[in-house]
Symmetry: C2
Subunit: 148 residues, 2 copies
DNA sequence: CTTGAACCTATAGCGACTGGAGAGTGTACC
DNA sequence: GGTACACTCTCCAGTCGCTATAGGTTCAAG
């Protein structure tokens, strides 16, 4: 393979994969990327496969997968002969988590809208925003979960 | 005021306000609570107003307000004569943030559902979960934002 | 007066990065 | 072939909002 197996500097790999340079080094430190070969001057050089792996990680991160789950998914994709039950389970767990967060956020949104709608722009003393925050009793949301 | 202005230990305040003990000390260190009086033996004692303040903070946190925003809201509620425009603006900003996250999460959810639906339980080599993660092109989501 | 729960401070850790300092390297241009 | 300068290196600190631990002190009930 001629130039297709070309080397990317860490900055080029970062641009192509859409991640930041320190993030790549961080992923390496966390074991999501195997340490790449270096130039004589100790600079990392990446091939197309590593860049693809980076894009995979980025995409999974955008989908909210935590790094340990991504580590698992990567090791699965490194062994294509196995059953994909495990990958499926990870994705389903993530879907459940996303649905949970969606519910929380939706409840949140309606309460915030209620707060904002009721504020008529007077004095703090009559401000619904402050009042709603002060009186938990009036709260619609019953989340005991962290809210993010 | 007799016993209504009663003193609470940090643990009692925590139970009543629904936060954890170290969290109270953390809020104090972050300047959201003024340092309360202490017993001779150096233990914090809180009054009803501080407990209410804690509940306010807790509720705002449940609504996802970051601590700096809560600091602002608290200082607003300490000055009830001012206009509530500022409080309104903070709440609106938070609402916008929540809506942004909701959009991201909704896009996410459909992509995860797509991934999971398409997985037919075969080998990794044909697994849609892995494949979708590897090919960002097929992605529905256009988020460049963090996904949480 | 003794026990034991609750409290104190200080510090470190979480997850997933991000930013900076200070030094070394690679490369494009003249 | 030199020089300028962007890029890269490592290491360490900071972000956010807590949470947990260690090792010591105090409070309140019996």
């Amino acid at each position: 393979m001629p130039a297709s197996h070309a080397d990317y500097s860490i900055g080029q790999a970062a641009r192509v994969a859409g991640v930041k340079v320190p993030t790549i080094r961080y992923y390496e430190a966390q074991g999501l990327l195997t340490p790449p070969p270096r130039t004589e001057g100790n600079q990392r050089r990446y091939g197309a496969a590593e860049v693809a792996r980076l894009a995979f990680i980025r995409h999974a991160r955008e989908l909210g997968f935590p790094l340990p789950a991504i580590r698992d998914l990567l090791s699965l994709s490194d062994h294509p002969d196995q059953s994909c039950d495990a990958a499926d389970a990870i994705a389903r767990a993530q879907l459940a988590e996303v649905e949970r967060r969606l519910e929380n956020l939706t409840a949140l949104k309606s309460e915030l809208e209620r707060m904002v709608d009721q504020c008529q722009g007077g004095r703090i003393a009559n401000c619904r925003v402050i009042e709603v925050l002060a009186n938990h009793d009036q709260c619609l949301a019953e989340t005991h979960n962290p809210v993010t």
